[in-house]
Amino acid sequence: MKNKKSNNDSITIVTGVIGSDVHAVGNKILTFKLEEAGFNVINLGVMVDQEEYIDAALETNADAIMVSSLYGHGEIDCRGLREKCDEAGLTDIPLIVGGNLVVGKQNFEDVEKRFIDMGFTKVYPPGSDIEEGIEYLKDLLKVQKS
């Protein structure tokens, strides 16, 4: 993992919507808001494979990967991402995931647990405010808050 940085500008976040998911709106807003908060965002858009996240993170020496999944197949699509990161040498990279991760309205604690067990660092429920995610990122990456 890279050294802590003191300024958002040099913090790089990879974003994208995983799997066969085409929900583009949240991804656009997420990216806009992250950039507004001063992060350097590598947005892979929709329909992103696990490999693409990893390649992008390696290439840009990213500080975190933010995975979105809206369409319900998130559980299937996200499985194995942590292991692949490990294999690629991204051993400690924070994996943050949010959206409508599973099919249907399920108890969020259960869903959260499943994703934490899959190796995710932080899991957000449906319709989470991006501001929250940004605050978390700043804390996690020890960014000086403005």
Binding site: S20, D21, V22, A24, V25, G26, K28, I29, F32, K33, G45, V46, M47, Y71, G72, H73, E75, I76, N100, V102, V103, G104, K105, Q106, P126, G127
Partner: protein, 485 residues
């Protein structure tokens, strides 16, 4: 790839057909003749097009849910519940995302995992994997007409199995099931795929079996100006008609401003009729569908009921032939059958209660529909011009040139220059008209409406308005005024 808006020849259709039916093992079960027989055995009250035509004559608005689960017995139970407890007039079968992307192996895995876990691991019903016989089991088990609803860029095999399987209506189109649903399919490619679908349905029509077709109106569901969804719907209607489709339902996703929404349905109906007639397809029947709010939904179920009911009210005040219903679980995930029925019942109450009211003739609606009409004419004239009279060729060129341009679309074949935002009364206007071939008057109209908002909000017209508007609904508002409580 070369396409043109010409009815496919038998030779090329049947050559293509052989390949299509080989895409997955269930393709081999499809037999056109026996499918025609099967379709002819379906009673009149279960034929989608007839039910729509009847509603249109009576001025009624029918209600239809979305629904689909991985296991077919459960799918049947779900649909039975929706027609009995939910009082649905029309039934859907919503297809899962793997099928939509022709990933039949993954869909198979989804079916198996669902059997194991007892939870539906797919976000819809995998029609192709199940094949003709199970589809017939589903369609025969129900009393109401059934439609396939999906979002599949290459839906050729899905169409074959669906119609052979006894569905009497089929959603989608070469643009509307590409631009919002795909990243990498070119427009040529998907128009060509959908010419196949439409030609197949044309052949059923010629064999005496009428199947209803419905371009997907709402596109990305987010701040889509009526002129954009309208232009796409009309193009898809024309492309379908050329292939022999005779029964078309054009659609629109609620934007939220009452006047604009009523005007959108009103103009969509008349413009589609006008263009079909203009190109000689005078015998094609046109009905309309209004989609309840297609954007982000409130998390709270009571608040969701508010949004659902408002959509129901506007649909009937606009005299849409049918309304597609959301559920109080919308923000959370695929709904339970109870939540689905709840959305239907709230909607049923209002389509019944307000059936004798009609806002189509009020002057503000007429004025707004005239604007939509002019915008659509600008776009479609340019499409014709770019295609030298060929709508298919013109459409491809139009997307390339940004003459048609859908906000928030994932497709890389979409220009993405057009930027919508709401005016101070919540109607969707364009902050940036990109390369839309609008007259200076129309551009000024949009600009003027947004300047009004800017004055009210004491800030300049800017991209921040767009972001605020997308965000607003999550906070309960339509217009993303800054600093709203």
């Amino acid at each position: 790839m070369e396409i043109s808006n010409k009815k496919l020849s038998n030779d090329s259709f049947f050559a293509e057909r052989e390949k299509v039916l080989n895409q997955w093992k269930t393709g081999k079960e499809v037999d056109f003749k026996s499918s025609v027989e099967h379709q002819k055995s379906i009673p009149a009250e279960k034929r989608f097009g007839l039910k729509l035509a009847d509603a249109a004559t009576k001025g009624l608005t029918l209600i239809q849910p979305r629904a689909g689960v991985a296991l077919y017995e459960e799918h049947i139970n779900l649909l039975k519940y929706l027609e009995n407890e939910g009082e649905a007039d029309l039934l859907p079968t919503t297809v899962d995302s793997y099928t939509r992307l022709n990933r039949y192996n993954e869909a198979e895995e989804g079916i198996n995992k669902s059997k194991e876990t007892g939870r539906s691991m797919l976000n819809g019903f995998p029609i192709v994997n199940y094949g003709v016989d199970i589809c017939r089991k589903v369609t025969s088990a129900l009393k109401k007409p059934l439609q396939v609803r999906h979002g599949t860029p290459d839906a050729r095999l899905l169409t074959e199995i669906s119609i052979a399987g006894g569905f009497t209506s089929y959603e989608g189109g070469g643009i509307s099931y590409n631009i919002p649903y795909s990243k990498n399919h070119s427009i040529e490619q998907t128009i060509s795929h959908w010419q196949y679908t439409d030609r197949l349905i044309g052949m059923y029509e010629e064999a005496g079996v009428s199947i209803n077709r419905e371009p997907f109106g709402p596109l990305t569901g987010t701040l889509i100006s009526p002129c954009l969804s309208g232009s796409v719907a009309i193009i898809e209607a024309l492309l379908a008609a050329e292939q022999g489709v005779k029964d078309i339902t054009v659609g629109y996703g609620q934007c939220g401003n009452l006047i604009q929404d009523v005007a959108a349905i009103k103009s969509l109906e008349s413009l589609t009729r006008m263009y079909l007639d203009k190109f000689g397809y005078t015998d094609v029947r046109v009905t309309t569908v209004f989609h309840q709010w297609m954007g982000g939904f409130p998390q709270d179920e009571s608040k969701a009921f508010g949004v659902i009911s408002w959509g129901a009210a506007v649909a009937v005040l606009a005299k849409a032939t049918k309304v597609i219903v959301k559920t109080p679980h919308e923000a959370m995930g695929v709904p339970t059958k109870e939540a689905n029925a709840a959305g239907l019942l709230a909607t049923k109450q209002l389509v019944s209660m307000l059936r004798d009211q009609d806002l189509r003739t009020i002057p503000a609606v007429i004025a707004e529909s005239e604007i939509i009409g002019e915008e659509v004419k600008c776009i479609l004239n340019k499409v014709e011009e770019l295609g030298k009279g060929d709508i298919a060729v013109g459409t491809v060129a139009a997307f390339e040139a940004g003459v048609i341009d859908i906000p928030f679309a994932p497709s890389k074949y979409n220009a993405g220059k057009v930027m919508p935002a709401r005016d101070k009364m919540g109607a969707v206007r364009l902050i940036d008209t990109g390369n839309l071939p609008f007259t200076p008057e129309i551009k000024n109209f949009h600009r003027g409406k947004l300047e009004e908002r800017a004055v009210q909000e004491k800030r300049p017209v800017s991209i921040q308005m767009v972001i605020d508007d997308v965000y607003a609904i999550g906070k309960g508002f339509l217009v993303g005024h800054p600093g709203k409580r």
